[in-house]
């Protein structure tokens, strides 16, 4: 009997996860084949797009003597360092779930499983859960490098040999950081603190990346001399980072001058960090796990804003008021939710910053360009709104999953619930959309006609995107998820983004022709066709209204049929 104690194999510990993954590759059983086909199709298109883009770029680099390979290496280094940053953050957040909050931990910690195997199983789980997206992105990137530089048959082994430690180093670091944080901060507050840290770090990385203005590298004329440009390229971006070692290892093979040192550094560092992480786990895990089981936050302040909103909503009836207040309270008290607003603000700042630095003055800026840019701006603003709707409106239905019994058993009509969610999500989105479009249009110095077109279009698009987000949220709910931040990256979130892009494209195409003809006629002094303009606007408004109401109607009928 004693020989059995602690002798559970790593594979056995991981078997429930493997069986679960095998049983439910894409969520619910319903329409599994359809989902699989769609997922493969979208994945295939994405891979082909990334591969094609990079392949052409690398082909171009290969044609440049001296600096071509340097540029390719620099690009790979930049991409890998970004992925490394993402991996660290995502591993920290994932490790908190897998090491401390997962539902299977009560069973595993109570069972005679020794610390090393528990660490190994959970580290592997953390690494897989936080790395699969990075692997998906890295595959077409590395394939493009391998094919354009003719890496040969051994290249996949070299690439995999570099990527395995590259993925495990952040997993071990992330798990160790989480372990320390759980021991330092009180109990479940760690999750809140981690969310804020992760979001702040991501926002910081984004801002720094933007402020560095990497596009300068693509314009060597901005440097004082070629020597300065080459010296910038030759200097490793971050010599102590595993991303640099991985880039060096891969590029040295592709330059047919293979170096062993980068691989040695990668594998030895990975091994050392995993060993260090295991020792830390042995030392701190028991106390950390115990702390993480303590209860959550207790006290909350009754905000003046809540009271004010409550008073303002009183004329709309008790039920609507309480629904809206509930939505607001849940959002602002859930750190994992509101903290994403920080990232959002940074995205908006970066967006406005980009518009500000567009070279729109000087020669070659024609009437056509002046009027095209606001339309491009609308497309981009629409895309920003779609991402925000996917983050905040789309998860709304999924988050009701566990409490649906209460709503379903009460005399609340699903129509009321969905419209409450719609307005709570849409109004802030509309304010943001108007600020975004107004600010960027002012920076672009557009005329008042284009300003009105922009404001009208973005308003209609905001309603439509919010409607789509709510509709897809009800059609593809993730009722059993524990982390709201994971819902937007689900299959339904992906479909929502595709539908939103299609909508934005359609609206812009429908409006573009009459608006250009009208603006053109005004410029040359001829009589513009007002009828065509009105038809264009009416059509785009019709599309947007249909995209608002139809998904919500579908969502209402879906929610009525839902049995939970």
């Amino acid at each position: 009997m004693s020989a059995f104690l602690g002798d559970v194999s790593l594979l056995h510990l991981l078997s429930p996860k493997i069986l679960t993954a095998r049983a439910k590759p894409l969520g619910e059983r319903e329409n599994r084949a359809g989902r699989l086909i769609l997922f493969t199709l979208i994945g295939g298109i994405f891979w082909l797009f990334v591969f094609g883009l990079l392949y052409r770029l690398l082909k171009y680099f290969r044609g440049i003597p001296e600096i071509g390979a340097l540029l390719a290496g620099k690009l790979l280094g930049l991409m890998l360092v970004s992925l490394f940053g993402i991996l660290i953050l995502s591993n920290i957040v994932t490790a908190l779930s897998s090491f401390f909050l997962a539902k299977d931990l009560d069973l595993l910690v109570a069972a005679p499983v020794d610390w090393l195997r528990l660490y190994g199983a959970k580290l592997l789980e953390t690494a897989v859960n936080s790395s699969w997206m990075v692997v998906l992105v890295a595959t077409p990137v590395l394939t493009a490098y391998g094919i354009s530089y003719e890496g040969g048959l051994l290249y996949p082994i070299i690439a995999i040999g570099a990527m395995i430690p590259f993925l495990f180093i952040p997993a071990a670091i992330g798990s160790a950081v989480t372990l320390l944080l759980v021991n330092i901060f009180p109990a479940r507050r760690t999750r809140d603190i981690l969310s804020v840290i992760a979001v702040l770090a991501a926002a910081g990385v984004l801002l720094i990346f933007r402020l560095v203005r990497p596009e300068r590298l693509a314009r060597p004329e901005g440097f004082r001399s070629l020597v300065e440009f080459i010296s910038v390229l030759r200097t490793p971006t971050s010599p102590l980072m595993p991303s640099e070692w991985a880039a060096q290892g891969i590029m040295s093979w592709l330059r047919e001058d293979p170096e062993i040192l980068p691989f040695y550094l990668l594998w030895s560092t990975a091994a050392a960090i995993v060993v260090f992480g295991a020792l830390l786990h042995r030392w701190l895990y028991t106390s950390g796990f115990s702390k993480s089981q303590e209860s959550g936050e207790r006290w909350v302040r009754q905000g003046a804003i809540g009271k004010l909103v409550g008073r303002m909503l009183t004329p709309w009836g008790v039920m609507r008021r309480e629904l809206v207040l509930k939505e607001m309270r849940l959002f602002f008290r859930d750190t994992t939710q509101w903290s994403q607003l920080i990232l959002l603000t940074v995205l908006v700042v970066v967006y406005v910053f980009n518009i500000k630095f567009l070279p729109l003055r000087g020669e070659g800026i024609t009437f056509f360009l002046r009027n095209v840019i606001p339309f491009v701006n609308l497309v981009l603003a629409g895309f920003v709104l779609a991402s925000i709707a996917a983050r905040f409106i789309f998860p709304g239905i999924s988050l009701e999953g566990r409490t649906l019994w209460l709503l379903r058993s009460s005399p609340l009509e699903m129509r009321q619930l969905l419209w409450a969610k719609f307005w709570v999500g849409t109004l802030p989105l509309l304010v943001l959309a108007l600020i975004l479009v107004f600010a960027t249009d002012v920076l672009l110095e557009v005329n008042s006609f284009m300003m009105w077109v922009s404001v009208f279009t973005i308003t209609m698009m905001t309603f439509a995107i919010a409607g789509l987000a709510l509709g897809f949220g009800a059609l593809f709910p993730k009722f059993n998820t524990e982390n709201a931040a994971q819902i937007p990256t689900s299959f339904g979130g992906l479909i929502l983004m595709m539908a939103s892009i299609a909508l934005i494209g359609t609206v812009i195409v429908v409006e573009a022709r009459p608006v250009f003809r009208y603006a053109g006629a005004s410029l040359v002094g001829t009589q513009p066709s007002v009828v065509e303009l009105w038809v264009g606007f009416a059509l785009s408004a019709g599309i947007c209204l249909a995209a608002t109401f139809i998904p919500i109607r579908i969502a209402i009928s879906r929610m009525k049929k839902l049995e939970r």
């Binding site: 936050e297 207790r298 309480e322 509930k326 019994w405």
Partner: protein, 251 residues
């Protein structure tokens, strides 16, 4: 009053609830007993309007649930077996929200909410987030929420799970007093002692069908052999619990 007529629920080829006919009149506390997977929770969730029946009708306080669901649900309070509620609301806010779902608010609701929380020793926790509540405290809060809008009918799935002895006793008294005032309670439970001492009538359900209905005396006669509810239950449901347990331990 609760009236079920030919109530059926099918999941594909599996029939979870098979043509149940049942009437629970006003002023009665009705117990719903059965082995795991017998169809108790499915029946109660259909009565609560959460699951749609495959066929049959449900009337709550005389209102057809399928014809006028909002009016029927307005008469109902539902207490589920698993206490999932909004983690980021305080207990008081949750009660206010539930009352709001029934279109009720104001000082009467505030007062009633405080009274109900005090009854279950939750008054000190009223302004704390539900995420800090224990399982039993959440269950008490949900029970309070089922009473906040003064429903005519209450449907309860396993009310005693997670409750401490004091709360369990309070709940029993509350239920008895509630039906004494002419309201209706339908309750599923595995705690046979609770069913025996609390319920006016009991139905035993097995494989989706009602095996027997009546008072304890009626059931005793039907089981032919007398004894307590446990013996009656085992006889009617054909359980071989004790023998099975011994066989397993000896294996």
């Amino acid at each position: 009053m609760i009236e079920l007529r030919s109530l059926t629920k099918r999941y594909g080829s599996f029939t979870a609830v098979d043509s149940i006919d049942l009437t629970v009149p006003d002023g009665e506390l009705f117990g719903f007993l059965g082995p795991n997977g017998a169809g108790k929770t499915t029946t109660l969730r259909m009565i609560a309007g959460i699951l749609q029946p495959s066929s049959g009708t449900i009337h709550l306080a005389g209102i057809d649930l399928s014809q006028d669901p909002m009016a029927a649900k307005a008469k109902l309070g539902f207490i589920p077996d698993r206490p999932f509620i909004y983690e980021k609301l305080t207990g008081a806010e949750f009660l206010r929200f539930v009352a709001g779902l029934y279109g009720q608010d104001g000082s009467v609701i505030e007062h009633r909410g405080r009274e109900l929380m005090a009854l279950f020793d939750l008054e000190e926790w009223a302004d704390e987030l539900v995420e800090s509540y224990s399982h039993g405290m959440r269950q008490k809060l949900i029970i309070s929420s089922a009473f906040i809008h003064r429903p005519e009918v209450i449907v309860v799935d396993e009310p005693m799970v997670g409750l401490d002895p004091k709360a369990a006793r309070i709940l029993k008294d509350l239920f008895r007093e509630y039906v004494r005032r002419g309201h209706t309670i339908m309750m599923s439970t595995h705690t046979l002692e609770v069913a025996e001492t609390l319920c006016d009538r009991i139905a035993i359900i097995q494989q989706g069908k009602i095996r027997a209905t009546g008072t304890i005396d009626d059931l005793r006669k039907e089981a032919t052999g007398g004894g307590g509810l446990e013996e009656i239950f085992l006889k009617l449901t054909g359980e071989r619990a004790a023998r099975d347990a011994m066989e397993v331990l000896d294996a």
